[in-house]
């Protein structure tokens, strides 16, 4: 004998797609008399069915070669760097970096881009230490392009400091921080130039949450990327 719950589900599903025969329609009418939620549920299912109508479904499988490509990741990427505890309380760095952004002046889009204003910046330190300068290594840049990058962990987020030479003048580039969950946070944009560019940008993403820094062209293609060591939050 059919479970009454399953029978109710059958009839509601059939009603939602107008598939009831006369006997089933009478059976559903009797159920409605004692269960007024049925009409609400049929309406909800019909709304869901309406949404599905515009969603053609491709049931194909990925190529076997994709498995090889993915498993090669584990062989190609080294183990993460050791976790470094963050020292809190170096608030002097906050003021210095803010001053640099304000002094720089040039702002493109949502991010602040400023010329470096001297050598009073943060000093080298371990990744993730608030206020310390963390050197990062970019890879993948085109021939003739050099990118020297550093990060500074701040209480408000992560500052990216770049010295870039060789990118085509007038072309626009964005600096993006990629989080551990895959989310991208824009840090700012800059133009390529015939001279070496020094700039600082900030993003509201804490350093422990940043997995990589990417420089992208206007099509979104990654021009160069730096993978970062993990640090403790």
């Amino acid at each position: 004998m059919t479970d009454p719950v399953d029978r109710r589900a059958e009839l509601v599903a059939a009603a939602a797609s107008d598939d009831l025969n006369p006997d089933e329609a009478r059976e559903l009418a009797l159920l409605r008399a004692t269960d007024p939620s049925i009409d609400v549920e049929i309406a909800e299912l019909r709304a869901m069915i309406g949404d599905l109508g515009d969603t053609p479904w491709d049931s194909s499988e990925p190529d076997a070669a994709l498995r090889d490509r993915v498993l090669a990741i584990g062989e190609a990427l080294p183990a993460p760097a050791p976790v470094v505890p963050i020292a809190r309380g170096r608030r002097w760095a906050v003021g210095l970096a803010l001053a640099a952004c304000v002094a720089g002046g040039a702002v493109i889009g949502g991010g602040a881009v400023g010329l470096l204003d001297g050598d009073d910046g943060p000093r080298p330190g371990a990744p993730g230490v608030l206020g310390a300068l963390e050197h990062i290594d970019f890879s993948g840049e085109p021939a003739g392009v050099s990118i020297d990058g550093s990060l500074v962990a701040h209480t408000w987020g992560t500052e990216t400091i770049l010295e870039v030479a060789g990118l085509p003048a007038g072309e626009s580039y964005s600096v993006v921080l990629v989080g551990a969950d895959g989310a991208s946070v824009d840090s700012g944009t800059f133009f390529g130039s015939t001279v070496t560019i020094d700039c600082r940008m900030n993003a509201a993403l804490d350093r422990p949450e940043v997995d990589a820094v990417e420089i992208r062209d206007m099509s979104g293609a990654v021009v160069a990327a730096a993978e970062l060591p993990a640090v403790a939050s």
Partner: protein, 192 residues
């Protein structure tokens, strides 16, 4: 008929109390996780992007990001599948934004259907993700009846599955889709 088992895997909130204790040792094995989840991840990507090559690139990028962040993966907070889907969703959004900035070309391995519209909404992405997360039995039933437009009797004759079973699968599949979309929309609406 059998309708037992999980229709869809929904994100589950952490049941671990807040603590300053160190995170447990991560457990993310690339081979195991790829073999367990790549098929549904690809289904999500190829149906969101309508391009096989780009979908495979997105899946690869997802596992790359997961591998980089594997020491932060905490299986007590979310299943690996939930975590991978969250990463893939962001990768797909990035890919869609890139596509909207580029002239559209037709690759040899593109699927027949037209590319996703430039104004693709989060709602559609959530729906495709929810469909990908359905169990095979439930997805096959709901796709045949409500996307491909077959009747219950046609699907039953072709598959040998009784009509009542198909109806019940469709019922629970539609409910699961609604619950998934509502829960994801709620999580986006919540202040972070």
């Amino acid at each position: 008929m059998s309708v037992s088992g999980s229709v869809i895997e929904l994100a589950r909130p952490s049941d671990r109390p807040l603590s300053s204790a160190p995170m447990p040792a991560p457990g993310f094995d690339l081979t195991t996780e790829y073999d367990a989840h790549s098929r549904v991840l690809f289904a999500f990507a190829v149906n969101a992007l309508r391009d096989r090559g780009q979908a495979e690139d997105c899946v690869q990028e997802t596992f790359l990001r997961a591998w980089r962040a594997r020491d932060r993966f905490d299986p007590e907070r979310a299943a690996a599948r939930t975590w991978l889907f969250a990463i893939l969703r962001n990768v797909i959004v990035d890919a869609q934004r890139s596509m909207q900035r580029m002239p559209r070309t037709v690759a040899g391995d593109s699927v027949d259907e037209p590319a996703a519209p430039a104004d693709d909404t989060l709602q559609r992405l959530l729906l495709v993700e929810a469909l990908a997360k359905l169990s095979d039995d439930h997805r096959v039933a709901v796709v045949a009846i409500h996307i491909d437009g077959e009747s219950y009797s046609e699907v039953s004759a072709r598959s040998g599955i009784p009509v009542p079973t198909l109806r019940t699968r469709v019922y629970y599949a539609l409910r699961a889709l609604r619950v998934h979309i509502d829960s994801e929309e709620d999580s986006h609406d919540r202040p972070r």
